[in-house]
Structure formats: C-alpha cells, structure tokens
Amino acid sequence: MINENNYETYFMSYIDNELIATERAAVEAFVLNEAKYAAAMAVFEKAKLHAPNVEMEDKIFLYRFPEMQASLDSDFKKSLYRKEAPVCKIIFTPNLMRASFAIAAILIFFVGIQLFKTETIIKDKTALAITNNASTNSKQTENTILPDNAPEASVNKNNNSSAVLNSLPFNKKLNTTKVKSVISAHAAFEDQTIASNNMNTNIVASTEGLSQDSRKNESQIRSNLMETMPIEEEKTISVIPTTYKEIDTEEEDRTINIGIIEIDGAAFRGITRKFSALLKRNKIEKEK
C-alpha cells in the first residue's frame, strides 16, 4: 500500500505504466489528498521524456526488394572470367646462372678466335711478303723494285697484293739494306712466307714476267725509290715467316680484321671470384 515511505516508487511505476488499475487508482487518490505529493508527482512527470520526431535519412537503403535477391549463375560468372595464358616462370638459380655465364664465355672465346683468325696460304712457294714501317704506299713500292736482268717484268696492278718473286738482283745503289734483307729472307725461307705489319708495301716482281715497258721505267722507278726510302731512314726489317692464304684482291668490299686477345689469368680469376662472392652474398641475404 502506498504511504509516505514508498510513494516515490509508486509514482515512478505510475509514470512508467507498470501499475495495475487498483494501484493506479490508489496513487491518484494519494496525490489528491496531499498537495506536496501532487508537486512531487508533477516533477516526476516533467522528468519523463517525450519522444522527439526523428527520421532516419537513408531509410531507402534498408528496404528489400525481390530484385535485390537476384544472383548470377555460377557458369555465367565463370564465362566472364578472362582466360589467361599459362605463365612460364624461369627460375634463376645460382648454378644455372654460373653455367650460363660459362657457356657464354666459351662461345665468346671461340667466336673471337674465328673472327680474328687470319691465315694466308702461299699459292706459290716463291711468294714473299716484305714489310717495313715506312710511310710508302703500295704504288710507290710497286714501282721501286725492278730487276736489272729480267727480260720481262710483269707488274700486275690488279693483283698487287700477291707477288711472285724468283730473283731479286736489285741495284745496289737503290737497294741497300732492304734489298739485302729481302734476298737473305728469300734465301733462308724460300718456301715460307714473310709477314708484315704494314701491308701497304708488297713488292711484286717476276724475272720472267718483266716486260720491256717496265724496263724502260727503270730509271724513273729508281728515282722514286730514292725519294721514298732515304738511306738514313732505313731500318732493319724483321721478317717473320708465316703462312698466307690467297686473297681475292678483285673484291672491292674485302676487309681484313686483325686482333689480339689476351686474357690475364689472375685478373680473370679475380673477376670470377668477385662474381661468385656477389652471388653467394645475395643468396645469404635471401636466406636471412
């Protein structure tokens, strides 16, 4: 029963509509009897909240429609997928890389040898190649050396790179050291070839093929030789026997490549050591 001690509980239950009809009537009668309880009830009434009119703005997104439940067929979805080509992955392992570099080095070595390999075969055993480091060109030297007693001398300008020399009785005045060296070389290596560092001076002479025309130009050629080869500048000629291959001089686009490959073993080992150390370091870092 409501009284002065529990009236607040009854008042709050009354406000919360948690009382039955008889209890509500008892509370209303209790409030009507005392004015101070009516004031207390009014305060509780004021403390009761009234729901404000709040609307949710995005309510439309909460609705469900049958269209939203539509789903695509799995086969249709799969048909939309892009078919990708199989990807082949190349795995670069250290061993594979080492083998690749070794094969590449061997290939480069053999290709280089083939590219820079020069070999000349002497067609006739009497062919000689004489070199000097003078600045005379081939035409000048071609006209300088002519035999004295040769009945005919054929100087083929087209084939000025190959020479056949049977005898070389040159004028002592014109051919001093150079001619001597040629004769000695011819005598010593009759069947061998003579290599030259400068290919500009190939001398071609043939005692049997000398013509009368060339004999007439003998004096002129000698004078040219004197101009081009002064005695003071003559040097000892190093004659190196080598084998030559017949060259087709009529070919205009002919090129001759000369090269030397030197491999320093210590430096090469150093490079390989650094490379292997680099690979090993990368491997260790990957493992870490």
């Binding site: 509980t9 709050m12 919360d16 305060v43 729901a51 404000p52 009119n53 949710m56 609705y63």
Partner: protein, 175 residues
C-alpha cells in the same frame, strides 16, 4: 559480444513485405534510440543498417511480432560494442536535437532535461529512452538489455530519481 535473443523461433519466417513494414515502423525508433545515446549520426546509421541486415539474415528465425525487440536488442548491443571500442562513455559529438525534436513544453525545461540526461551513464540512459521513447515494459527492456525485470525497475527508478533531483536543482538555480 552480441547475444542472440531468446525469442528466435525457427518455425516462423518473415517475408519481404513484412520486413519492409518493419523498416517503415521501426527504423526511425531504432535510429532515434541509438542517436540519442551515441550522439553521432553516422554511427547511428551504421548501427541501424547492421541491425536490419541481421534481421534480414535471420528473417526465417525471427517472428514478425518480435522484430522490434530484436532490432532494438541488436542495435543496443552494437552500440555498446561501439562505445567500448571508442571509449565514448562521455559523448563529445554534438547532436542538434532542436532540428528534429519536438519541443516538450518549454525549451528551458527541455534544455535542463538534456543536461540531466547527458549526465547519466549509458545503461541508465538506455533504460530511460527505451521506457519513455519506445514504451517498453520492464520485461521487454530486460530482454533487450539482458537484465532481469527487477534490475530494470531498480536501475530505472534510480535514473528517474537522478533526473528529478537534477531537474529540481536546476530549477532552483534558474529561479
């Protein structure tokens, strides 16, 4: 941790139409309840949307008549989880109630009430809101908040006494 309410029945199912009716009838109430406590519109929208998503997922298990309680239960626990995550026991985000709320009596009294309510803890505030705004019984509030009926009664009465005392004090101060 969300606890599934005990009023889920497997034999009943909710149709699309019934669900849309629930949206019409309850979305504003749930949104208002969450907004009043969290004081953040975006959080309130997210919570309401999540609650209706859960209702849609469990539409075959939730009875249509219990949908409102289910929505408030889910929304309340989502809000509690949200408050725990953000440690937003004291709400700092301002919410302009004047834009949407209907004035109750005088604006001065309303302001005093808002100040008094803001001093309540989330549980007391939820109890007051569920009782005054939604008109739930003690038993229903207990189901929503996972409390017993007596607990709801005691906590709610304490909250009302706090509001009454605060209101009396503020009225004396203003007078």
């Amino acid at each position: 941790m969300l606890i599934e309410p005990s009023f889920i029945h497997e034999q009943l199912s909710m149709t699309d139409l019934e669900f849309n009716i629930c949206v019409d009838d309850y979305s504003d109430g749930v949104y208002r309840f969450i907004l009043k406590i969290s004081k953040n519109k975006e959080d309130a929208r997210d919570i309401v949307q999540t609650a209706f998503e859960k209702l849609w997922v469990n539409r075959e298990k939730v009875e249509t008549l219990k949908a409102k309680s289910y929505l408030f239960t889910v929304a309340y626990h989502l809000m509690i989880d949200q408050l725990r995550k953000e440690s937003k026991i004291i709400m700092t985000d301002s919410f302009d109630e004047n834009a949407n709320a209907i004035t109750q009596g005088s604006s001065e009294l309303k302001q005093l009430l808002l100040e008094a309510i803001n001093n309540l803890n989330p549980t007391q505030k939820s109890l007051i809101l569920l009782k005054d705004y939604e008109g739930y019984s003690y038993q229903e509030i207990g189901e929503i908040m996972q409390l017993s009926e007596s607990q709801v009664k005691v906590y709610l009465h304490r909250a009302r006494l706090i509001l009454k005392n605060k209101l009396t004090h503020l009225e004396k101060m203003s007078a």
